[in-house]
């Protein structure tokens, strides 16, 4: 790959690196990746190790974020929680982007009744209050990390579908699509080679912002006890146990709460930074 002449290098990166907030977001996201990959190396304890003699200890040199009601190290559990959060965020958003892109591409490209049917379906999906839909579905299914990812993905693709459709509508009128037709390119070829790469930028932005949203949803569900199930540590379910001891063990709520805040903020800053760097005047 001739990296230096690519669109990414010449335009995108030059704009992106001028945005300090976006760079900070990118740095935090990168840090989170490293932390979740190297969790066993960073974490000082076993996340499931119960110690009845060290229950609800405040932060100290040996337990940076204190211990919980079962004597487990909170720092260790927050670090392992990073894994769960990123995992859920990425898989859920991956599902949403896959469905949304497919629906958006097909409805934007073919138009007519196909578009009407698909877009009315999007409207119907958007009528459900997402969070309560998730609650209802999880109440029927078993609460597990897989079901969480699946259900967040299946309820979150509509925005991407609308975005992709709008992009396709404008891209398909460009001359290079007509050029592709006039040399005999098939619909599949036009969709995958000519339309999709040019519609990818706003999808990337939506996906980045979506990861933050998905992490938040997962935390909320876990907090309510219908998300990731203990003893698997997730920021949401650490918070749940924290709320019972809020008066005398603030560290149990503060640190996972901070982790959620910083992570979601980082994804939002990164997503907005990417959006600003992909200014509509230069994309396409």
């Amino acid at each position: 790959m001739d990296f230096r002449t690519s669109f990414f290098y010449t335009v995108f990166w030059k704009r992106f690196r001028r945005n300090r907030f976006a760079l900070a977001g990118a740095a935090v996201v990168a840090l989170l990746f490293i932390v979740s990959l190297c969790a066993p190396l960073i974490a000082p304890y076993d996340p499931a190790a119960i110690d009845a003699y060290r229950v609800l200890l405040p932060p100290s040199a040996s337990h940076w974020m204190g211990t919980d009601e079962l004597g487990r190290d909170v720092f260790t559990r927050v670090i392992y929680g990073t894994r769960i959060s990123l995992y859920v965020g990425f898989v859920a958003v991956g599902i949403a982007v896959a469905i949304g892109t497919l629906v958006g591409l097909i409805s934007g490209f073919y138009g007519g009744w196909i578009e009407s049917v698909l877009m009315r379906f999007v409207d119907i999906m958007l009528c459900f209050p997402t969070f309560f839909l998730i609650l209802a579905v999880i109440a029927l299914l078993e609460p597990s990390i897989w079901n969480i990812m699946l259900i967040i993905g299946i309820t979150g693709w509509m925005g991407v579908a609308r975005l992709v459709r709008a992009e396709v509508l404008s891209i398909k009128e460009r001359d290079y699509i007509m050029a592709a037709r006039s040399i005999g390119a098939s619909d599949i070829r036009i969709l995958l080679l000519h339309i999709l790469p040019n519609a990818a930028a706003p999808v990337l932005v939506a996906a980045t912002l979506g990861v933050g949203g998905a992490i938040l949803t997962e935390s909320a569900l876990s907090f309510l006890g219908i998300g990731v199930q203990p003893p698997m540590p997730s920021w949401g379910n650490i918070l749940t146990s924290g709320k019972d001891y809020l008066e005398f063990a603030w560290w149990l709520s503060l640190f996972p709460g901070l982790a959620i805040l910083v992570t979601v903020l980082a994804y939002n800053l990164l997503g907005e930074g990417i959006r600003d760097a992909l200014d509509p005047r230069i994309h396409g």
Binding site: T5, F7, T10, R174, D175, I183, L193, P197, N198
Partner: protein
Amino acid sequence: MNHTLLETRDISKSFPVRTSPFRGAVPLRAVNCVTLSLAEGETLGLAGESGSGKSTLGKLLLRLLKPDGGAALYRGRSLGDLHGADLLGFRKDVQMIFQDPYSSLNPRMRVGDIIGEPLKIHGLGTGDGYRERMVSLAGRVGLTEEHLRRYPHEFSGGQRQRIGIARALAVSPRLIIADEPVSALDLSIQAQIINLLQELKEEYLLSFILIAHDLTVLRHMSDRIAVMYLGTIVEMGNAEDVFSGCLHPYTEALLSAVPHLERGGRGKRIVLKGDIPSPLAPPPGCPFHPRCPHAVPEICAVRVPPLEEKKPAHLAACHFSDRLFH
């Protein structure tokens, strides 16, 4: 040499336009009963103002639009009947060059992939021959091998147009339809591109349909000229005949608008009144009569002048061409 390559028979195309949410769609007649033909090896110039339907006609000829009436025929077969391998063969034989060198190249594809795409689609995109062909194509239009690895945004308008020309040439077409190939370029670059097209035409024995509003561009390359006004052809004939003795007042006005360096006071410029009428509400009778300096309202506003052979191989659609241009 005299085989007909592409022809149209009374081809028409209109687009439904909704002018107000309370009324139904009104048809915009972009192309209205156009009959023309192109012989193998010939270059036909399509002239006319913006809105005269010449680009729509180009798209009909490429089967990028479906006609409402009439038909376009490629080597005797209606484009509407082409399917499968026949259609792919047509897509190989007939290529297009676009007006806007910026929007006609996919910004996310490397130049090599853009030029190579027609080869890949037509099953020629493999082996050693492919690489060689790419390099020779690039060289033929004035690009280097190194350019093939770059992205379109790194090139100037003229270079981008060369990329578009290389893409059109890649699969050895018989006919190239060029829609305003130079009007988006600087004057100095225009001459280079026109010369390149001229060279390629002679080298590969190409037929051309050249769409342009600029008559100087057409004069340089065309064997025959068709002048369009409001979706119809108002004059058609050999380029020399049209330029030396036009038979329609609209062509006369277009020709008088061409700047001459050696003018020296001769030739009066005819300035047409107003704009081209809306194709949503075309005037009755001769489409040109509201702007025609010679119009006789009793006749021109009532009867549509047919496109007739006024002189050998020289057609015009004007009631008074015999009287005006003897």
